[in-house]
Symmetry: C2
Subunit: 202 residues, 2 copies
DNA sequence: TAATACTGACTGACCAGTCAGTTATATAGA
DNA sequence: TCTATATAACTGACTGGTCAGTCAGTATTA
């Protein structure tokens, strides 16, 4: 679709040059359309930017919810997390979007605020609930559930940054599989994880 | 100093708007000088940007080296780390610099490459050496030293981003002290940390 | 009175956004 | 099936505003 081609080209250009420095002529050329056509789909450069964000972050929450919310044990949750995370980092444009959004965060505080409240806080509360439930059934033993949730998530942010910022200037890319494997192992120990038996832990 | 005032103003403007969108007139006004004066200290906007980076990242390595390199045990190293990290996040302009550098990373790959090789890799090798030494004397027990070093550092990146991107759009700021306290605790457990006695562990 | 530091109006390049004109597609009638 | 006409999709030269960088002139200090 024309619209998708434009969005893809816009992401590339915004990622490479930033919103202000990206030229609509370049985006149009990259998408294989003329500049005028851009304005048939988006009313302005800013509208294109906002359209890009909507396009990429709409489906994001659902994926995360299903990933974390439905695992039977903390071990399995972390296991599937550390499996899926590297492929998201390597194969989706999430890291590029992160880079672009960080770059424009001060210029568009409403977008950032919206994302924090609608996506990030959502993710944390899912994660916090999962941790709290595991804590309640004696599966893990931690002091500060909220901060622990952030620590579980920190390597995702780290990887997103590394992927979009440092991988492009490195000879070989970071081994995200190894990183998340190590993370899972560290977490399980750090959480004082003890597998629950079949019996109810009451 | 005039030069310092200009650099400070430049950081604020670059942070708020990005390099391309920042106007030299605004930087000059913010620094309390005329636009012409900027050109007495810096030959171009890009030169100002590079000057800013040099100004902030020159002293950085030394601080980190002294922090991690000289602690007698892993526990003490992590302890001092989790003490110093929050104050660096909250009280220095490191998070702002991180945000700016991420935003311009694709536009100035040479700067990013230089930083990775000269600062980040340095930090990691210090950290890796410290972990390896602790491993060798039986203080900790981990599989992957390199990835573990990255996991120790991940919350610093996370905090830097949160500080510069999300704190400005939040009612209350993140509790970085609690975050790093939790991190240290998790790490000590995750590393399988066992304090060494006075005796040699051979 | 010389040298140095600073100023801010000016200019030329650049680019977001426009719109008159062109091309492609759909519909209808012969 | 072929032409005519209407409509929708697209094009790219053009314009007006913006801003990095300049430099002749002014203020300050030695």
């Amino acid at each position: 679709m024309r619209r998708d081609a434009i969005l893809e080209a816009a992401l590339s250009e915004f990622y490479e040059k930033g919103l202000a420095a990206a030229r609509l002529d370049d985006i149009a050329e990259r998408a294989g359309v003329s500049k005028g056509t851009l304005y048939l789909y988006f009313s302005s450069k800013e509208d294109l930017f906002r359209g890009l964000i909507d396009h990429h972050t709409g489906p994001a929450i659902e994926r995360i919810k299903s990933m974390v919310g439905l695992a039977p044990s903390m071990e399995q949750a972390l296991e599937s997390f550390s499996h899926i995370a590297p492929s998201i980092i390597k194969e989706t444009s999430m890291p590029l979007m992160i880079k672009v959004m960080i770059g424009e965060s001060q210029a568009f505080p409403d977008i950032i605020r919206h994302h924090r409240t609608q996506i990030i806080d959502q993710c944390y509360s899912i994660l916090i609930d999962a941790l709290q439930a595991a804590q309640d059934r004696g599966e893990i033993d931690i002091d500060n559930v909220e901060m622990t949730a952030r620590l579980v998530f920190a390597p995702v942010v780290y990887s997103g940054i590394w992927r979009s910022v440092f991988d492009p200037v490195s000879e070989k890319e970071l081994d995200y599989d190894a990183l998340f494997k190590a993370h899972t192992k560290m977490m399980l120990r750090g959480l004082n994880y003890r597998p629950q038996t079949q019996r109810d832990g009451t």
